[in-house]
């Protein structure tokens, strides 16, 4: 029994969403998703929401999930991970055969956290690292240095990611952080934790996103826009940042499972485009390599050759990634998934690719985690 994405809705990413509560934003996304799927929430069997308490400023955020999704007195649970890991839950629940329709919700109200570095700090080991009181972006700085060094790349290579993605965002038009910027300009922005500069960091944003996932029986009632989940996986490495080696092992673990489920042997050839986490500039290159979308040490060259451009052989982050759409925290994977489905449905406007069939979406949970997930989608019908 195959599983499909049959509906989606979004409260668009923006720098601030001060006029709405999180409930009102999620409600907007939910209403759109149910309309898109042509179902009512009472027909949904299971709901999964992704959240982390300290990001919300609420303990047991699970409490505040059901109402705005139409999920009162329904089977609902929270996954404390990025949205794509939450998608694995929905997928698995449907695959047990006990449920037909599931809903996934993710959102970001990062603008409501007044001091982010303290949020990140709370994620660090309280004994070894927190007492050092270093701005937690140093982790990204260390990892970036290690990654660039191990591959023989330089800062300019990473800056090309920012340039490409912000340009894609500008072309797309919907993304709030689209602009024309040269890699050199990225290099000239203030250092945050060398080699990481201000413009190597995707800016925070708010938004909400809801998906309707269904089994084959339900999905086949739709004549068009059938997006099949071909494979997925999730993975972790270790929370001990001292042991990180500059590789994104979590996506190696996740993609191994996803490729094997999807029967993909040569991802570079078989994937038409990819939406990949680029919370920090170097992360896109690191993730591309972990996903085997280039050989280790070759992603920067391919990037500069235009291999990952909109008109390249394997476009990456067609709507601008997190650089262009903003860092939506646990919703990053959901926003990427949303845009991948737009592409597969042929609704991506100015950045529409020519008839794409197979897409890969990969997410990272964000600083200071070493966990993430991968989903492979295929258009049918």
């Amino acid at each position: 029994m195959n599983v499909y994405i049959v509906g989606m809705g979004i409260s668009l990413p923006k720098k601030s969403s001060s006029e709405f509560s999180f409930r009102e934003m999620i409600y907007e996304a939910a209403i759109k998703a149910y309309k898109d799927a042509n179902i009512e929430p009472k027909n949904v069997d299971i709901f999964v929401s992704v959240s982390e308490d300290f990001e919300e400023g609420t303990s047991i955020f699970d409490e505040y999930v059901p109402d705005q999704l139409g999920a009162v007195l329904k089977p609902v649970h929270t996954i404390c991970a990025d949205a794509l890991t939450g998608l694995v839950s929905i997928y698995s629940l449907i695959k047990t055969g006990h449920f037909k329709i599931g809903v996934l919700e993710a959102h970001s109200k990062l603008s409501n956290v007044k001091n982010h570095s303290h949020l990140f700090a709370m994620g660090l080991d309280p004994v070894y690292i927190r007492p050092l009181e270093v701005n937690p972006y140093f982790i990204a700085g260390l990892e970036m240095a290690m990654f660039l060094d191990s591959r023989g790349y330089d800062e300019l290579d990473a800056a090309f990611v920012v340039s490409k993605n912000k340009s894609n965002a500008l072309t797309f038009g919907r993304s709030p952080f689209g602009t024309t910027i040269t890699p050199e300009e990225v290099l000239f922005s203030e250092p945050v934790s060398e080699p990481l500069k201000r413009l190597d960091i995707s800016p925070n944003a708010d938004g909400a996103c809801v998906f309707v996932i269904a089994n084959e029986e339900v999905a086949k009632e739709r004549k068009k826009d059938l997006i099949r989940i071909l494979g997925l996986g999730f993975g972790g490495f270790t929370p001990n940042i001292e042991m990180w080696r500059g590789d994104a092992e979590y996506l190696e673990v996740a993609s191994k499972k996803a490729y094997s489920m999807a029967g993909i042997k040569n991802p570079i050839k078989e994937i038409d485009f990819a939406e990949i986490d680029d919370t920090f500039s170097y992360k896109e290159l690191q993730h591309i390599e972990a996903l085997s979308l280039s050989r280790v040490g070759e992603s920067a060259e391919l990037l500069k050759e235009g291999f990952y451009d909109l008109d390249g052989e394997l476009p990456v982050n067609t709507t601008g990634g997190n650089m262009g759409n903003g860092n939506l925290s646990l919703m990053n994977g959901a926003r990427s998934l949303y845009d991948a489905v737009l592409q597969l449905r042929g609704h991506a406007g100015n950045v529409q690719l020519l008839d794409p069939e197979t897409a890969l979406v990969a997410s990272w949970k964000g600083l200071p985690s070493a966990s993430g997930a991968v989903v492979i989608l295929k258009r049918e019908g």
Binding site: F20, S21, E24, K42, F54, N112, K114, H118, L119
Partner: protein, 169 residues
């Protein structure tokens, strides 16, 4: 289930073990949104607002812009009475940090007149006595109560603009 692991510490040994202290410094500023903003503005002016869904007919407080059961935008603002009845209450002798209170406080769920059955809000009861015996004599489930407001010039658009509810005949 044999040889269970774990090293329990009594108060004395607990004070001796090596510890790391950390005070969270995260700050939040939550967007109240349309419904709650209007509700709080109402409190500042001295009235309690609810939203009505014209499909199920429920009058809902705390207000929200959608009916979570009919799953549609709800329809109109309704002003509730500042009198109502106690749906349930407690007489609480401890603070949040588990220290004991000299005088108990009385949290209660109160249904305001005008709201649908069982649609209550959380607040506190005052002027009901200082000891458990007095309080249990003065209030019960179903007791009629009325809001005691802060002076108008002191109100700030918060739930605490109502100081407490007091029992009335």
């Amino acid at each position: 289930m044999k040889n269970l692991e774990g090293t329990p510490l009594d108060q004395e040994s607990f004070e001796k073990v090596v510890k790391i202290e950390w005070k969270p410094k995260i700050e939040y500023e939550w967007d109240c949104g349309i419904a709650i903003s209007k509700f709080l503005e109402g409190l500042k002016k001295g009235y309690i607002l609810a939203r009505k869904c014209n499909v199920c007919g429920r009058v809902l407080v705390p207000p929200r812009m959608f009916c979570e059961l009919c799953f549609r935008p709800n329809d109109e603002w309704v002003t509730l009475s500042d009198e109502g009845e106690i749906l349930t209450f407690s007489v609480c002798f401890v603070n949040w940090d588990a220290t004991r209170r000299e005088k108990p406080e009385i949290p209660a769920v109160i249904r305001l007149y005008g709201a649908s059955p069982n649609i209550g809000i959380l607040h506190k009861i005052g002027e009901a006595g200082d000891t458990l015996e007095e309080i249990l004599k003065n209030i019960d489930i179903g007791t009629k109560v009325k809001a005691v407001w802060k002076k108008e010039e002191e109100r700030e658009g918060a739930i605490t603009d109502i100081l407490y509810f007091k029992p009335i005949k």
